[in-house]
């Protein structure tokens, strides 16, 4: 091994410093808001809070927890996450499997695939979409948050490209042994597609958790907002303080608009932050595998 030159070593050190700074830049804003949520109103307003709480207290969280709306919205989000992810994934594999077939084997495959791909190239716009959902009478029900987005063409493409990369012999031997297509999909294809399946599932879950605009458009009563929509509605409305109902003077001294909002932001982000370590283990390999094409 040749000893690296001085300039090379200088570069490596600078590079490490730069990349470390860059990584910190990605998490420090989150840590700052977390610190604000645990600080007193006065310290936050004076700009004393850095990345560690000043006058540590959990009053802001107590106020948010007492608020029934937050938990209602949380429950709504959990419900849509579980039901929505299940439906999305079933549709995703059911659709990706036939589309992954060779067009010699399944002649209409290309035509079907274009029907789906066209929906990502062109759309009717916001109002026609809203009116169409309205006509299905799904507004204000949980299904309004699930069905309109249940077919995710990007995920289907990812999955179908993964299926195409699997050895042809798998399917042939399974069909020769008398298994139908459904059996082949669920008993042969899915068990060996776990990394890609995990990636798509996790992305779908994050998508459901984060999605807020459909809640704003399709839920008429704010009581039925999912969490992301609820957070969005209080961010737009500057009177969080009134919404949080800070009537008790003792509480109002420690909790302000700002610390209360910081607490709600952090609690909304928390589920993502919890699954993130598992998520990032899968998504890189899953993404790369899904993008391999013949």
């Amino acid at each position: 091994m040749i000893k690296s030159s001085l300039s090379r070593r200088t570069f490596l050190v600078c590079n490490l410093v730069f990349l470390t700074g860059l990584s910190l830049l990605c998490v420090l804003p989150i840590l700052n808001v977390l610190a604000v949520s645990f600080s007193s109103a006065g310290a936050a307003a004076a700009g004393e809070v850095r990345f560690w709480p000043v006058d540590f207290n959990v009053k802001a969280y107590e106020v948010v927890m007492k608020e029934g709306k937050f938990f209602g919205a949380f429950g709504m989000s959990v419900e849509r996450l579980l039901l929505g992810t299940l439906i999305n994934m079933v549709l995703c594999v059911l659709t990706a499997y036939p589309l992954s077939k060779d067009s010699k084997r399944f002649p209409l495959r290309t035509a079907y695939a274009w029907i789906f791909v066209f929906t990502i190239l062109f759309n009717g716009g916001l109002i026609p979409w809203y009116l169409a959902v309205k006509q299905t009478h799904l507004l204000d029900t949980i299904w309004a948050l699930i069905l309109p987005g249940a077919v995710n063409v990007f995920n289907i493409i990812l999955m179908l490209n993964f299926f195409r990369g699997l050895p042809k012999e798998l399917e042939e031997s399974s069909l020769i042994d008398g298994a139908g297509h459904l059996k082949t999909l669920f008993l042969i294809f899915l068990p060996i597609s776990l990394p890609s399946l995990a990636t798509v599932t996790l992305f779908t879950m994050v998508g459901h958790w984060n999605s807020w605009f459909d809640g704003l458009m399709l839920m008429k009563s704010p009581d039925r907002y999912p969490l992301a929509t609820y957070l969005q509605s209080i961010e737009i409305d500057l009177s969080t303080l009134r919404q949080l109902n800070l009537t008790d003077p003792d509480t109002a001294r420690v909790v302000s608009n700002r610390t209360g909002r910081a607490a709600q932001i952090f609690m909304t982000a928390l589920p993502i932050l919890i699954v993130y370590p598992f998520l990032q283990k899968y998504f890189v390999s899953g993404l790369v595998m899904g993008s391999v094409k013949e």
Partner: protein, 300 residues
Amino acid sequence: MRVLKSFKRDYTLHLMLVPALLLVLVFSYYPMFGFVIAFEKFVAYKGFFHSKWVGFDNFRYIFKMPDFLPAFRNTAIIAILKIVGNLIVPIVIALLLNEVRQTFIKRGVQILVYLPHFLSWVILAGILKDILSPSGGIVNELITALGFKPIFFLGDNHWFRFTLIASDVWKEFGFNTIVYTAALTSINPSLYEAAVVDGASRWKQTLYITLPGIVPIIILLATISLGNVLNAGFDQVFNLYSPVTYSTGDILDTLVYRVGIVSAQYSVSTAIGLFKSIISFVLICASYGLAYRLANYRIF
């Protein structure tokens, strides 16, 4: 004949597609035909196809709207600058990351920089509003500590576009490095060995082996991003802008929302949306066509 035969043999394959086809029909194709209301004086109870036909009146109206052309310009400026930033920054970071030899440092950096991608704009807007606040926000505390005047990033038209673009690049750059990192690992190591034997320095190796190795993927991604020239990012703008910054930050998507949902002018809003959809459609088709020619890229 061949099609008919396959129908009999593989009816399960067709059946498997039915649920997704039905959903796409109701929630994607039916709304697509709803664009006809852009040519109508739409009345809700009469429905998509029975309202009064007015031809191009709504389009003439939107071109006279004082908000339309600024929104169009803002959309293009913001989207193009985002495309450029989101293309260049990840390449640079991926190259720098590629020079790190200690695996645990590399993994650590990757874990942290991918994170913002997974948080929604609602959460990030809340965070940005807090840290960028001119009164007590940490960024302005830092700026004033360095002896400058506080900057109202989200309320000053000189800074608003910059804030949008910088925060978007901040959110996505880490995640966007994944593609390049994958491309970098697929470069044949024997190329580097040969270069070392020939006496090439690390810099020369980067210039003549690493960069050419990822040029195809750069060209591909640049071409595909052409289709996003009118996608300035509704989620981000909607959660960060305010009437003060409409002049530099209002984009077509937010205008569609305000005209359609806030003012309930369904036909006018749809006309703006259709205008955007058609330009975007042409751009996307052109970009995929180009990607197919240049890189033999296929969507599926």
